[in-house]
Symmetry: C2
Subunit: 140 residues, 2 copies
Amino acid sequence: MFEKYVRLLKESQIKITPQRLEILKYLDEHRTHPTVEKIYSELKENNPALSKTTVYNSVDILLNHGLIQSITISGSELRYDFKRGMHHHFLCKKCGEIIDINVECPKLGSMLECGHEVVEVHGYFKGICKKCINKKKEKN
Amino acid sequence: MFEKYVRLLKESQIKITPQRLEILKYLDEHRTHPTVEKIYSELKENNPALSKTTVYNSVDILLNHGLIQSITISGSELRYDFKRGMHHHFLCKKCGEIIDINVECPKLGSMLECGHEVVEVHGYFKGICKKCINKKKEKN
DNA sequence: GTTCCTGCAAAAGCTTTGCAGAAGA
DNA sequence: TCTTCTGCAAAGCTTTTGCAGGAAC
């Protein structure tokens, strides 16, 4: 059940605690870019003693060790995403949903020659999503 | 002195007030991606009666009319930038500076065929900037 | 046993809201 | 004049901090 996450934490030399395993598992199984609040309220159902501070702490550690990434597209709050291959994000200004996008930029390599040491690349797109466009069409 | 900004506000059919002119001018002349706090404290020097609420209000209006854009790269707070040609941003994790980046992605056009209506495109890069790399080299 | 983590409460930081008086068109 | 904006204060959210008890190794 948690073997995968135990392994991931061990590989990163992070101390293993039930809370960290739950949070990592939740982020792996829910690719919904949740906020701390969302992670907290979901996991609290099975663990009423869980503290929001622990979610903040754990998320910070997972972030610093590169197991997850933070998404700042919505501006008002931080969101988190289990780390896998590079992908970008689209925020619908109407429904607020954040959708994964796969566009690879062939020019990205040239960024590596800009003199700065690039560690993270985030592509954020904003607009109106498919669903909301269709809803609007149906109305007319 | 303010003709340019009077024109910009008129074109966008935004009511003209001294505060809005000052804020727009500040953002045009200081490409430092300031926070509301920074804009507020800088402009307060010449206009002690200025309120932070007004900065928030004005910035919202300018944003909604597309005269400026918001930058969410730093996560904890919103930053603002006078709108000009498309460019991206690099955040140095060491010194915190945000640097303008010009990389054009030829694949961007294909995003327009993803079904979503793309209105904004933001490229955020994070890592260590040139300056900080050089500082580190000098030490060694 | 030592170190690090969790959870609670309080505080801090950024942003929004409500409203009365003031300014723009 | 009518509408909209400004500025103050208070409130709302998200995130951080301090610390005592508890868990991991």
